[in-house]
């Protein structure tokens, strides 16, 4: 089976190969673990890291300010009582999807090209979910009571209100975070073994050794490991879909015009993939160049990611279209008015920029030349990231700002805090990515070796 795939991979000219050049096992494990163990990282790496760290500080400051002064400090009001905290939350969750999708779904589909990018894609997922997890708490008027969403044995005899999508959210995010963590850690186990054995310094040996749980590559272990890893992938896949569907239900469940729409779940999932893969590219393109691993993370990976982006993107575009169509077709004056206001109302500029980013720019990816041109691909990825954030913001604010009673129509105006928190979390996210690259193997050693084995086996 696997051989067959690999063979196909070979046959498929002009497709770029999954790996370029001939490799052998020691060379691979050496090169990859060297990034971590020798820790000889280029100067720009640290430069970039400290830039991010500045944003981490901004993040901390903003959060402190928000909690001590109150949510009134950022741009929410009545009627638009939700703002960037929610849109950024949805955006981060979206980004958190590509990782699991790549590793889980592609694993189930036995896609060999997954191997060299799944590790950092999963890491990206974890960090994105961590960021996303913060937002709902920062969103609260009384953040210190967020644990009331949990069924705890308390003295006021109260339970969560299970019918509220926010509670589903809580369950979904918590589950998703845990499962992604387990999945990621399981994937790491064998490589941690490698690092343990390759580590020279005692602390490093202990650090990786403890994490490796004494992994020694026994055949029996491998067999069970494989079984569970596949099962987890099988679990993660429906989970991914459910998580973003539930996030979409936060809106769908409400009767507010612009929220109340059945198309949301699928189209949010697609949107998640779009933004997720955009973020994968945003990270992978600099990474492969910086660490000179173009031969491991090849153009093939980039191209496939781009193709998936356009696939997801087209679904999203369909989502936009059907949203508008059904607003009109429903004949509901409220839906119609809201949709019209979206196009011409106070938030129209954001709406049109969003359409430009997610619909027009996306089309470039049809061109192979574009898909294979890293600078352009990179900038497209960035543009789509922006577009997807705007999409979420437009959805969050336009509905309530133009809902049922014109007397209470109104807009919210963003403050520095909205941006402080958004960019702060971006900085924190990338800082975490940098740390991860520094202390853990960003490329799965054992799977790459497996690939080589399969290649040589097929040859």
């Amino acid at each position: 089976m696997a051989e067959a795939v690999a063979a196909r991979a070979e046959k498929a000219v002009p497709r770029a190969p999954v790996l370029r050049g001939r490799h052998d096992f020691p060379e691979i494990s050496g090169r990859i673990s060297a990034i971590v163990l020798q820790g000889r990282l280029p100067r720009f790496f640290w430069a970039a890291f400290f830039v991010c760290f500045a944003f981490v500080l901004l993040f901390l400051y903003s959060i402190t300010y928000l909690i001590s002064v109150g949510v009134g400090a950022y741009g929410i009001n009545i009627p638009v009582a939700w703002g960037t905290m929610i849109s950024s939350f949805v955006w981060w969750i979206g980004i958190g999807h590509a990782g699991t999708l790549i590793s889980a779904v592609l694993l189930l589909l036995r896609q060999p090209w997954r191997a060299s990018i799944n590790r950092f894609a999963e890491a990206m997922t974890l960090f994105a979910v961590a960021m996303a997890g913060l937002y709902p708490i920062l969103h609260l008027g009384r953040p210190w009571f967020f644990y009331w969403l949990l069924p705890l044995p308390n003295t006021h005899m109260h339970w969560p209100q299970w019918r509220s999508p926010l509670v589903w959210d809580f369950a979904a995010i918590a589950t998703y975070a845990t499962v992604s963590l387990l999945f990621w850690y399981m994937g790491l186990l064998p490589d941690l073994g490698v690092l343990r054995d390759r580590a020279k310094s005692r602390p490093a040996q202990l650090f990786y050794g403890i994490l490796a749980l004494g992994w020694r590559g026994s055949a029996f272990h491998w067999a069970r490991y494989r079984t569970v890893y596949f099962l987890m992938a099988a679990l993660a896949t429906p989970l991914v879909v459910s998580v973003h569907s539930i996030v979409a239900l936060d809106f769908t469940f409400a009767i507010t015009p612009g929220y109340h729409s059945t198309i949301f779940p699928p189209y949010f999932v697609a949107g998640a993939l779009l933004s997720g893969f955009a973020m994968v590219l945003t990270i992978a393109i600099p990474l492969r160049w910086a660490f000179a691993v173009e031969d491991l993370i090849t153009l093939r990976h980039m191209e496939n990611a781009a193709k998936l982006m356009i696939a997801a993107g087209m679904i999203v575009i369909y989502g936009y279209a059907s949203e508008a169509f059904f607003a009109w077709y429903s004949g509901q004056p409220y839906e119609r008015a809201m949709m019209a206001q979206r196009a011409v109302g106070p938030y129209a500029p954001l709406f049109w920029i969003m359409l430009f980013c997610n619909c027009i720019v996306l089309q470039l990816l049809w061109l192979r030349s574009v898909r294979l041109n890293m600078p352009i691909l990179f900038s497209i990825a960035l543009i789509i990231n922006v577009g997807m954030w705007l999409e979420r913001y437009v959805i969050v604010v336009t509905g309530p700002s133009r809902d049922y009673l014109p007397s209470s129509w109104g807009e919210q105006s963003l403050t520095w805090l909205d941006f402080g928190i958004l960019f702060g979390s971006l900085g924190t996210f990338f800082a975490l990515v940098f740390l991860f690259i520094r202390i853990l193997p960003a490329i799965t050693i054992f799977e790459v070796e497996e690939l080589i084995e399969e290649k040589s086996g097929a040859a």
Partner: protein, 994 residues
């Protein structure tokens, strides 16, 4: 915080213990049983040590917000905190049971006229003003300003001590100086002394001034009240030989014509008038009849909004219209008809008047010319209305007056007056701009000022004496119809203020006269029992003035010819509905209460019509420079549909920077352009647009209904053809739900709001704020859309923009049976109760704001920041105004209309103790109680024949957005108007659904 830091902690007769719910309304009793005991005084000190301190005038904004809404009770951590202190009385005053409020009848002054009130007092702490049902001017209703009286009582910036040359001095020293003065006066017969009073109807004051004048023959008394209008006095004096005051009986009027008279919003009798007017417009079935109201007005008012036919004309044109109508009435209308209004309009109106005959009523606007009054009275006389819908009485506010402010200044400059006592008014601020009061007053050898605040005049005065607040005061006051009420104190003067009678007594040589004794003396004829009854009931029986018979002279004179300069703008001055002449400028409740039509808060604007704005290329908020008579001001523009073209309406009362709350507000000072000759309107206003713009804060940004069936309205004829017009052309209400119906087998609380009755006066909103401890947020927060009112009155325009229908719709929480807000709350913070209330549990709320997102009516309000201070020690004196039966909400918590659940619970507990059902009408919500037109009905839907059940049975009962199937418990009765079919083109002559 520094301000409050130095305030002692609250030992207080333990607010925590005494805070709890009250059980029931005691018969109102006179406070003297209690008020004057030393215990009481000490008790007050115990309770409000903060009040004894002196606050600096400069407060930073956060402190200010806290002061504005500081609280007695904290929703929060006390749960796990250590034991708090609790303090009993030393001698418990009889009839005070801690935890049970007492109710006292008194009267509050509105432009000098009394409106009866019943004030709720918790352990000697006045917390809420209600109307006095036995009082003719109140009939149980209140207006927005009365509600705010309790807040101004505790205003930390009230004047706290006598000042001599601006330095704190003792009242004793003042008395010494006065003794000297009095000595001199006795010799000179009052030579050189002048009193300046404001409009008042107090018999005691009148008597005291009378006796002073006997004692000092040369004493001069002047009156200055910037909001008093003299036209009626002049007109009646000319017509009948002596000044008389008209009072109207709208309950008898079939057809009412108003010449620029805002009798629902401005006149001293407005609450009674509104009640009578609404009674004639109560339609429940097709056989019911309605009165008809024509309004010709020079700036949009709530009276105009209530009109069936409204003509907007320049202020100066009203006279012309009146002339034309009178001519038509006498059959002599020549083609010299004016437009607007059109000839046909005039004829239709006149026909109506003729048909109505003695049941017609023509009301002249107090601000209009004496001739307009003459015309109006003549028409009434001709129609036979005098004695039926219109009565004349002796002016309740008649005082032995020697002249007005101008005369005083004149006297000062000529040197015939060298010392003056300014008792109440603040001439330095409210004088016409062509009168240099400062110059005149600085000539005085002695200037004594008596007032609530250390205002502009006080700064100039040698002596400033703090006045007692009307809730600290013994006095008496007449209502619009002459009925006398005794004003009794709810609390001993917090800052040692003195009453007006006391000051007058000082002049008379009584240096430590007792407040009560002075008033009692006026009513010496009354025996003790009668006195107590008068205090208990809040009215002196049979004290209303009897109507006097008048004979209308044939010749009513001719209009004063005035050359109106065609190409110039006219200016119309109106008092701000809440701040009046600026006396209430330091009240955050009133500053933040949206103006009925513009919905502006924390500032005023120059109002222009859309057409004029277009002609001059103006837009909302754009700053314009307005010049007149050499003076000029900058003001932001506000474009208001229904405003007559080429007329700029300026309001008085803003632009005042003394007092830190007032300083927060924006707006301009309208007095700057006001002159002696033209106090209410004038022409030749110069307007130059500037290219800057100023912030104008409004609580409603969108004015049209977007073709949605929100306010459903129809004409009386349309209603008769189809009583169910509210169902016309709207999506049918869903009849079934996916979810099983819940049983509400005990009470099922519900509310019905009659849109025909609602006149948009905002009393309900103010009452709601007072009852439910609703925070004020200040202009900056309000501008962000963070205002907190639980109940709002939406104002929509329909029809032509130059002559629109103006529709009001009060929107409280709908208490939906299928509440969208509840399902989405993740922590059960808002859930349903067995009697169908949509309960909001503040202490459970974590502030996801999902409920607000999912509320189609957007009635939920959120504490975006910490608007109220919880720490009893650091919260300012104004925490004393809080209703102890309602939790004060913390930052980050959602809140909304609770149907005044604290009142429901109070009544239920009472009923359960007595082991009976809650009677219909026993539970009254704050908004319902305040409403002058009884537009709001509340009660138990399960009870057969309950008031609310009957209202909801009316054919034109409908629920807002009922197609959403949220099953609201609050429903509306569609608005029914009664326009004259002969007048075409009036929007609303067909049924309208937005």
């Amino acid at each position: 915080m520094s301000v409050i830091a130095d305030i002692k902690p609250f030992p207080a007769a333990d607010l925590a213990a005494l805070r709890r719910a009250a059980t029931g309304r005691e018969p109102w009793r006179s406070l003297d049983e209690l008020a004057d005991t030393a215990e009481f005084r000490r008790f007050v000190e115990e309770e409000f040590p903060a009040i004894a301190e002196r606050l600096p005038l400069s407060l930073d904004r956060r402190t200010l917000l806290k002061l504005m809404g500081a609280s007695l009770s904290l929703a929060g951590l006390t749960a796990c905190s250590e034991a708090e202190r609790i303090v009993p009385y030393v001698h418990q005053p009889e009839n005070v049971v801690p935890g049970k409020p007492l109710y006292y009848a008194t009267a509050l002054s509105s432009d000098g006229y009394g409106i009866g009130a019943v004030v709720e007092s918790h352990e000697g702490r006045p917390t809420k003003v209600e109307g006095n049902p036995d009082h003719p001017a109140s009939r149980g209703a209140t207006d927005a300003i009365m509600q705010a009286a309790v807040l101004s009582l505790f205003d930390p910036e009230r004047s706290r001590t006598p000042l001599k040359q601006g330095e704190p001095a003792s009242y004793g020293d003042f008395l010494k100086d006065m003794a000297k003065l009095a000595g001199g006066l006795a010799a000179s017969g009052g030579q050189g002394l002048a009193l300046l009073i404001e409009a008042t109807t107090s018999p005691t004051t009148k008597a005291q001034i009378g006796s002073l004048k006997q004692r000092y023959p040369r004493l001069r008394v002047y009156r200055h009240d910037p909001l008093a209008a003299s036209a009626n006095e002049q007109a009646t004096a000319k017509l009948f030989g002596r000044p008389l005051t008209p009072i109207y009986h709208f309950d008898r009027a079939d057809v009412v014509v108003s010449f620029d008279a805002d009798f629902l919003g401005e006149e001293p009798g407005r609450l009674a008038y509104a009640r009578d007017f609404a009674r004639r417009r109560r339609v429940r079935q097709s056989t019911d009849t309605m009165s008809r109201l024509y309004v010709v007005e020079s700036t949009p008012t709530i009276t105009g909004a209530a009109a069936d036919h409204r003509g907007a004309v320049k202020p100066s044109a009203v006279e012309g219209v009146a002339v034309a109508i009178k001519a038509a009435l006498e059959g002599g209308l020549h083609a010299a008809s004016l437009s607007p209004p059109s000839l046909e309009w005039t004829h239709a109106l006149v026909d109506d008047l003729r048909i109505a005959g003695r049941n017609a009523l023509v009301v002249p606007g107090p601000h209009q010319t004496p001739f307009v009054h003459a015309l109006a009275f003549a028409m009434n006389a001709r129609l036979g209305a005098v004695g039926n819908t219109l009565d004349f009485i002796e002016p309740p506010d008649a005082m032995p007056i020697d002249g007005d402010l101008a005369a005083l200044c004149q006297a000062i400059t000529t040197g015939s007056v060298d010392s003056a006592m300014v008792l109440g008014p603040n001439p330095l601020r409210t004088a016409p701009s062509d009168l240099d009061v400062r110059k005149a007053f600085s000539k005085l050898e002695l200037l004594v000022h008596w007032g609530l605040y250390r205002d502009e005049t006080a700064f100039l005065a040698q002596w400033h004496i703090p006045a007692a607040h009307e809730l600290e005061n013994w006095s008496d006051i007449r209502a619009y119809d002459g009925t006398v009420s005794i004003v009794q104190p709810l609390i001993q003067p917090l800052f040692g203020g003195k009453s007006l009678p006391q000051l007058l007594a000082v002049l008379g040589g009584e240096f430590n006269a007792d407040m009560q004794a002075l008033v009692r003396a006026t009513w010496a004829a009354m025996d003790e029992a009668g006195w107590r009854k008068a205090l208990r009931d809040g009215v002196v029986p049979n004290s209303a003035s009897a109507p006097v018979a008048v004979s209308m002279p044939a010749d009513i004179g001719a209009p004063k010819p005035h050359a109106s300069v065609a190409d110039r703008l006219e200016v119309r001055f109106v008092a701000d509905p809440w701040l009046r002449d600026g006396r209430n400028a330091n009240s955050p409740w009133l500053q933040e209460l949206p103006r009925p039509l513009s919905k502006l808060v924390w500032g005023n604007a120059a109002v222009v019509s859309p057409a004029t704005a277009q002609r001059l290329g103006l837009e909302n908020g754009q700053v314009v420079n307005l010049g007149r008579g050499g003076k000029d001001i900058d003001a932001p523009v506000w474009i208001m549909p229904g405003q007559p073209d080429d007329t700029v309406t300026l309001s008085l009362g803003f632009g005042r920077k003394i007092g830190s709350v007032a300083a927060l507000a924006g707006g301009y000072d309208g007095f700057a352009l006001r002159t002696t000759d033209a106090p209410w309107f004038a022409d030749s206003l110069m307007l130059t647009a500037r290219d800057s713009s100023a912030r104008v804060v409004t609580t409603q940004h969108h004015q049209a209904m977007e073709g949605r069936a929100i306010v459903r309205y129809a004409t009386l004829d349309a209603f008769r053809q189809n009583p169910h017009f509210v169902r016309e052309g709207v999506p049918p209400a869903p009849t079934e739900s996916l979810y099983p119906d819940w049983k509400y087998d005990q009470e099922a609380w519900g509310m019905s709001i009659d849109l025909s009755a609602c006149i948009g006066c905002m009393a309900c909103v103010s009452a709601c704020q007072a009852e439910n401890n609703i925070a004020t947020v200040g202009p900056d927060e309000a501008a962000l859309g963070h205002e907190m009112h639980w109940l709002r009155i939406d104002r929509y325009y329909a029809g032509a923009v130059d002559d629109p229908d103006i529709l009001f719709q009060p929107v409280p929480c709908m208490h939906c049976e299928k509440a969208p807000c509840e399902v989405v709350c993740p922590v059960n913070a808002t859930i349903h109760t067995h009697d169908g209330l949509n309960a909001q549990v503040y202490n459970r709320c974590i502030g996801t704001r999902y409920c607000s997102q999912n509320c189609p009516y957007k009635v939920r309000r959120f504490n975006f920041l910490e608007y109220q201070e919880f720490d009893k020690d650091s919260a300012g004196p104004q925490q004393a105004v809080h209703n102890p039966d309602v939790t004060v909400r913390s930052r980050g918590v959602m809140e909304k209309c609770s149907y005044c659940v604290q009142r429901i619970v109070e009544k239920r507990i009472r009923a359960q103790i007595e082991n009976r059902e809650i009677a219909d009408g026993e539970v009254v919500t704050a908004c319902q109680q305040a409403c002058p037109t009884q537009a709001i009905t509340f009660g138990d839907l399960n009870r057969k024949g309950s008031g609310v059940a009957r209202e909801k049975a009316a054919p034109h009962n409908y629920a807002l957005l009922e197609e959403l199937n949220t099953r609201p418990r609050t429903t509306y009765l569609g608005k029914i108007t009664n326009p004259n079919g002969l007048i075409a083109g009036k929007p609303g002559t067909e049924t309208g659904n937005g």
